[in-house]
């Protein structure tokens, strides 16, 4: 069959030999050419690229992850140093680690974007419920990958994140203590903890993700890509399949009529991640993980900051409910979506509640994320000084009081003229709203979340501190 008339024909010849020997025409190509609704030729087709963009990023995560695993040492006494080596010394190490880091953020965004689009298009409805369910599991897996990945940095943030995760697990009813031991792989965070998170991050969850993507794509092909929703044309279970089959008879082959858009989107997101990684490089590690260094300021990566914030802002009494209940509720809701609303209107303009179900959590989580970045509830532990204009021209007592304001850690929670913590009220003008007696009483007895300082201030110190605060009109 193969006639080598010119060197340029060799690739085509190889391709056709492979195609013939592997019988790709009626397997791979038949699948790739499966019909999709003709509407996808129109610009609305661009909404359908988010899934493949996510897949492209996942493949990039696997490739960069394998690269990192060639150098990373998953042991507590070496992990941090090996990451520093990757980030600062290995050729292209900063780019590869940067791609993996920014790829993780991109994957979280793309998975959420993909789900939002599918939800608002009503594509989860009959007969594609199982596609949504496997997608929900993929979202869970993506978040689990993001969390376990952060821990592998084995810096202070990572170490204390393990402790916080273990403490949260402990709040689960009945199995709490057992879950805690599962998280830290024993009684305490130690030599066994990191290797388990490593194996979970590079073997267990990825294996689940590969399997789930397989099922997800199988369902996408088997159930067909949903047609763009039309307002006033609800899903009617008895007649939908016939209507969809009719639509496909007038349809276009996915390959290449629709696939080119997926390729464009995949190229754009991968290129974007590569560019950011090449320009910004790998994110700096914090201080190395050290249980004995209590000068820590642990923070999760940005996509978990909203959850971090909510734990500071809710009333303590509701905490068990929020730590266990909120994620449980969110994922139960996610799984129930296609089972509760399998038919009816698909178009978002006919589903105002669906729009609210997307908008409200997004707005709420975005606000919580902003709050998490600012963390006003965190005391300012690193110390500091009051601005010069605050201490200038003070009398003796007030001057001593100003020194006490800093040394007795009032400063950690209260700001004066822009300096100090934001955990408690700003005291720049406290004298205009409180009398001498009220100030003295509040310092001595505390209240509204403020500790009592009666035990750590002498009567004369208390008088000096009050004298200082009374200068703040």
């Amino acid at each position: 069959m193969i006639r080598l008339r010119g060197i340029g024909k060799i690739p085509g010849a190889i391709a056709s030999w492979l195609g013939e020997r592997f019988e790709l025409e009626d397997s791979l190509m038949a699948v790739l050419r499966h019909p999709v609704p003709r509407e996808l030729e129109r610009p609305v087709g661009w909404w359908y690229v988010l899934g493949s963009a996510t897949l492209a990023i996942f493949v990039m995560q696997v490739v960069t992850g394998v690269g990192l695993a060639m150098t990373y040492v998953p042991a507590p006494n070496s992990a941090y140093d090996s990451l520093q080596f990757i980030s600062h010394e290995a050729t292209l190490g900063a780019v590869v680690r940067g791609m993996h880091y920014f790829g993780a953020g991109a994957m979280v965004i793309l998975v959420l974007g993909h789900m939002t689009q599918v939800y608002l298009f009503g594509s989860f409805k009959f007969p594609r419920e199982a596609t949504w369910l496997t997608g929900s599991l993929l979202l869970l897996a993506t978040l689990a990958m993001a969390f376990t990945g952060q821990l592998l940095r084995w810096d202070q943030d990572a170490f204390w994140a393990v402790v916080v995760a273990a403490e949260q697990a402990a709040r689960a009813p009945l199995i709490g203590e057992w879950l805690t031991r599962l998280v830290v792989a024993g009684n305490n965070v130690g030599g066994a903890t990191l290797t388990r998170f490593y194996a979970t991050h590079v073997f267990l969850i990825p294996a689940a993700v590969f399997g789930l993507i397989g099922i997800h794509l199988y369902l996408v092909v088997k159930r067909g890509i949903s047609e763009p929703p039309v307002a006033g044309l609800p899903v009617d279970r008895p007649s939908y399949r016939a209507r969809y089959a009719e639509m496909l008879r007038r349809g276009i082959p996915f390959w290449p009529d629709s696939a080119w858009r997926d390729a464009v989107a995949a190229a754009v997101v991968v290129l974007a991640v590569l560019l950011v990684a090449a320009i910004v490089g790998a994110p700096d590690l914090g201080n190395p993980a050290d249980p004995t260094n209590v000068v820590a300021d642990p923070r999760p990566d940005w996509y978990f900051l909203g959850y971090f914030a909510i734990l500071a802002l809710i009333p303590p009494a509701t905490e068990a409910l929020v730590i266990v209940g909120l994620p449980l509720f969110a994922f139960t809701f996610l799984f129930l979506v296609p089972l509760l609303w399998p038919d009816g209107e698909r178009h978002w303009s006919r589903r105002p509640a669906a729009i609210a179900a997307v908008a409200l959590p997004f707005i709420a989580y975005a606000s919580l994320t902003v709050a998490g970045f600012q963390s006003p509830w965190v005391p300012k532990l690193e110390g500091g000084t009051l601005p010069a204009n605050v201490t200038q021209g003070l009398g003796d007592a007030a001057h001593r009081g100003a020194d006490l304001f800093v040394s007795k850690a009032c400063f950690a929670c209260h700001a004066i003229d822009g300096a100090g913590g934001r955990r408690g009220p700003d005291l720049s003008h406290v004298a205009s709203r409180m009398t001498r007696d009220q100030i003295t009483a509040r310092i001595a007895t505390g209240g509204s979340g403020m500790p009592s300082f009666a035990g750590s201030l002498t009567p004369s110190e208390l008088a000096d501190l009050t004298a200082f605060l009374l200068t703040r009109h």
């Binding site: 507590p76 006494n77 070496s78 170490f159 204390w160 402790v163 916080v164 273990a166 403490e167 949260q168 402990a170 709040r171 689960a172 009813p173 709490g176 203590e177 057992w178 805690t180 031991r181 599962l182 830290v184 024993g186 009684n187 305490n188 965070v189 130690g190 030599g191 990191l194 190395p288 993980a289 249980p291 004995t292 260094n293 209590v294 000068v295 820590a296 300021d297 642990p298 971090f308 734990l311 500071a312 303590p316 905490e319 068990a320 509830w377 965190v378 005391p379 532990l381 040394s407 007795k408 850690a409 009032c410 950690a412 505390g446 979340g449 403020m450 500790p451 009592s452 300082f453 750590s456």
Partner: protein, 166 residues
Amino acid sequence: MKELSRRRFLSRVTVGLTGFIGAIVGLPILGYLLAPLFRAPTDELVPVGQVSDFPVGETKLVSVRDPSPLAWAGQTADTALWIRRREAGGPSMFQVFNVNCTHLGCPVNWQAGANIFLCPCHGGVFYGDGTVAGGPPPRPLFERHWEISGDRLLVRQQALPTVKQG
């Protein structure tokens, strides 16, 4: 009919054997993975210093090392503790606190001037005696059992303390 029941028998044998293979591979793996989770915490007493290292009225940070750590545990074999010397002697001479905030486990920071512990994560505050002064923590700081042996202060090792609910 006979042919069909033979087929049914063979499918059952095949499914059964597959399950059996899964079980004989899975059981040792499960045991291997779960065993560390059921190991009892070490409750050994470990020395943290001389009694005279801790002046009366002061609160100091010490670190204790796991007596039998894994060889690659590095720094994670250490645990930090806040030790408060209350009196010169007697049964309430010391208070030994885990550094973990009782809210979600972040390390609390001692502010000697103000006599309070502050937590950097969600703003929990504790008094010098470990009781809650403000913020989300649901209970006082976790304390550890201590003993005096000669002139040494010994502290009992324990698992990561958690607020048990349910």
